[in-house]
Amino acid sequence: MKKINKIFNTAKRDKWVVEYDSDLDTLYWSKPKISAGATSKKFLDDFSMYINKKGIVEGIFIEYAKHNFVSHNTEYKALFDELVKVGGDKYIIPKENAKNVEDLLQGMANMVANETLDAVLKGVDLKNMVSA
């Protein structure tokens, strides 16, 4: 998986958006539309990633985000404070609020990178995980 430690740069380049589904309590930080052919992979405790056929990460999603992830990572409550309801159960962080959460998202990207490193040190074979 290419440049796991550069997820934040990938997110900026590919204009990822933060979306939240309150019915599912799932948080997405991803391309607005994940590519057909991208595969979801979960090798970290809190995060699932969408990885396309070129090994590029297209997004991260967190299940039970508000009522579990945030309870263990309270700094991310601020992310939820920036969400705006756009219809039904869907919330987004609008472009004009994006700067307010940039540090938090950088922190999330670092968390993913560090947990990935931990997973590799524990023996997870990322090559298999990515190519499967």
């Binding site: 979960k42 995980m129 499967a132």
Partner: protein, 129 residues
Amino acid sequence: MPNYRNSFEDYSGTTIVVDWADELWTNHINKHPEIRDYAFASRLIAEALLHPSLVVSGEKPGDKENIVCYYKQNKRYENEIHYTKVVVGCNSKPFYVKTVFQRWALFDIAVQEKKYDFKEVYRDQKTYL
């Protein structure tokens, strides 16, 4: 596009429906492209409900909604498993599909609900989940 609507029966004979407006379908397909289209999504849901590998039930953290999660093991590679997950809401009848997606995961972290004291209500003894 017409709503995504269908009705299924799970392994215990319980009727479960899906009734998603176009916007809700679009939200799902944008984040879970593997569900492809209405017909394929229905195949995934039907298979997971009728022939699950693992079923867990409990209260969703936060709003305490009663949910049942059906996991269907599709394939395995060493300590990784590919599965379909269908989340069903049970606060009204008929029960209703809240989401469906597919994923690869390491065995020991595949079932997120293990962290929240969900009860195991069915297990195929051959599953690695």
